[in-house]
């Protein structure tokens, strides 16, 4: 298997995976528990989910470590388990994809705010990300994916933490934007051009957006990114904004909706296409099909 960054230079479009949380709940995770607690209790579930996405055609499969920073895990009294949780997350995906796919180590927000808005010091946050990412690297990831960020400083700390531990490890960094009359901004007020500048300075190799307000908005976001950077782009979109129907949560954008819009993402210059909340292996299969027929 070619090294990840070389592969992106060939202009090939790679497919990433979809949502994780819904599967964890179907397989015994209880409301109020840390999604990463599964890594300790029942790692077979991680193998099963990775297999579903790998078989659906994902080139890149993500680890179950979104909330695996010690700052986040401390809510559940699990911060002492940071290393084990992240190592296991990586090992389980590696076991599935072998040398036929890339393992991407997920690194989400800590849920805490840096001073002066919150109480966390920069050093504490950086060290936390380092502990998490060290675990992911030891578990065998190929890529670190800093995702769903809204605070640029937090995102930069995570990217820098990865680069300080493994300068050659590719780092993807994605933020979550909302539409406003003045363009796209994160809830912390970061624009796409600011995100590009800050994340690039921090050393990220691939930039983009995840989660969000549906695929149509993501196509606009990708075009906006393209204006400011030549780096490869990644888009992992929600399947729209969920609605409650008959007591159940329904995401409006189905696999065929995704399939039809892959072309637009490709034209916007996106190199990696995957899903976020509400997407399923069927969505990934649809993306795969569309990518293969480009």
């Amino acid at each position: 298997m070619k090294p990840f960054l070389e592969r992106l230079q060939t202009k090939e479009i790679l497919v990433a995976d979809g949502a994780m949380g819904s599967f964890l709940f179907q397989r015994g995770l209880k409301s109020g528990e840390s999604p990463e607690s599964i890594n300790l209790k029942d790692p077979n579930v991680l193998v099963e989910i990775a297999t579903l996405y790998f078989n659906a055609g994902a080139d890149i499969v993500q680890t179950n470590s979104f909330g695996g920073s010690p700052l986040k895990l401390s809510h559940y009294g699990l911060e002492e388990k940071t290393e084990e949780i992240n190592q296991t997350a990586a090992q389980c995906v590696r076991q599935v994809v072998g040398d036929k796919g890339y393992v991407s180590g997920s690194c989400g927000p800590t849920g805490q705010m840096l001073k002066p808005l919150g109480v966390i010091e920069t050093d504490e946050m950086r060290e936390g990300f380092q502990r998490q990412i060290k675990g992911l690297i030891e578990g065998g990831v190929d890529i670190i994916c800093v995702e769903t960020m809204t605070d640029l400083n937090e995102a930069k700390l995570a990217v820098q933490a990865a680069k300080s531990l493994a300068p050659d490890m590719p780092v993807m960094a994605t933020m979550t934007f909302d539409p406003t009359p003045r363009g796209f901004f994160t809830v912390m007020g970061i624009s796409i051009s600011q995100a590009v500048q800050g994340l690039t300075e921090a050393g990220a190799d691939i930039l983009g957006s995840n989660c969000g307000n549906g695929l149509e908005k993501m196509i606009q976001i990708a075009r906006e990114f393209r204006k400011f950077t030549k780096l490869p782009l990644i888009i992992q979109s929600n399947a729209g904004k969920p609605e409650m129907k008959e007591g159940k949560l329904v995401y409006p954008e189905d696999p065929s909706f995704f399939e039809k819009r892959v072309k637009d993402l490709a034209q916007a210059g996106v190199s990696i296409i995957g899903g976020c909340c509400g997407t399923t292996p069927e969505h990934i299969q649809a993306i795969r099909k569309a990518v293969d027929s480009l």
Binding site: F25, G111, L117, P181, F185, V187, M244, L249
Partner: protein
């Protein structure tokens, strides 16, 4: 410039030290505490709320303004209760069980306080019975519930059902909000109101208890 206007301006800039200082001065000048509150602090938060709703400012500016508001409020609260000035009403608020997300709820608390309500913040991961128990004990007319995880929306319904079981639906109204919710889903779970953002939540709460 008039000191009350200065309080509002520095609050909007998020300068808590200056707001603290000016509030102290205003009290020393014997300006009635409710005037400092309504025309200084609340007016400043109103502007912040409008700017946030219009996406002119973002979360950091709101949080800093809130900190400045608290710097003034802490000095006014004892004077307000001594003067027998009542709040617009008591609101019980929390993020529902299973959900640890704090920011959205914090924003709503800030905006409600800024609009003159007394807010009891139960924190995150709040069990259904806590919402109802505290609302009953405190005689609060409104319970506000927040969720960011899609999976915790059913916990909101649990609270609403509990209110109905206890036949309290005429005295305790519910409002829900959070990223996965919509007006439609709020109706679906039987909530009395839906706040699509923090500023909108304040408007809806005012409607629920009939104050302006």
């Amino acid at each position: 410039m008039d000191i009350i206007k200065k309080i509002s301006d520095y609050l909007q800039k998020g300068d808590d030290e200056k707001v603290f200082e000016l509030t102290q001065q205003a009290i020393a000048q014997n300006i009635p505490p409710d005037e400092i509150l309504n025309n200084g602090l609340i007016k400043g938060m109103d502007v912040i709320g409008d700017q946030f709703r219009n996406h002119e400012i973002f979360l950091p500016e709101v949080l800093l303004a809130a900190r400045a508001m608290h710097a003034g409020m802490d000095q006014l609260n004892p004077l307000l209760s001594k003067a027998g000035i009542e709040s617009k009403g008591k609101i019980i608020i929390g993020t529902v069980q299973g959900d640890l997300h704090d920011i959205g709820k914090r924003l709503v608390c800030i905006m409600l306080k800024g609009a003159g309500f007394e807010v009891i913040d139960l924190g995150t991961d709040v069990p259904a019975e806590n919402f109802v128990e505290v609302a009953e004990k405190e005689n609060a007319p409104v319970i506000g519930m927040s969720a960011l995880l899609t999976t915790t929306m059913p916990a909101m319904k649990q609270v609403i059902n509990m209110i109905k079981e206890k036949k309290l639906q005429n005295t305790i109204k519910t409002i829900v909000g959070g990223a996965p919710l919509s007006k439609q889903s709020a109706v679906e779970i039987g909530a009395d109101a839906y706040g699509f953002d923090a500023a909108n939540a304040v408007i809806r709460v005012k409607e629920l208890i009939g104050v302006s």
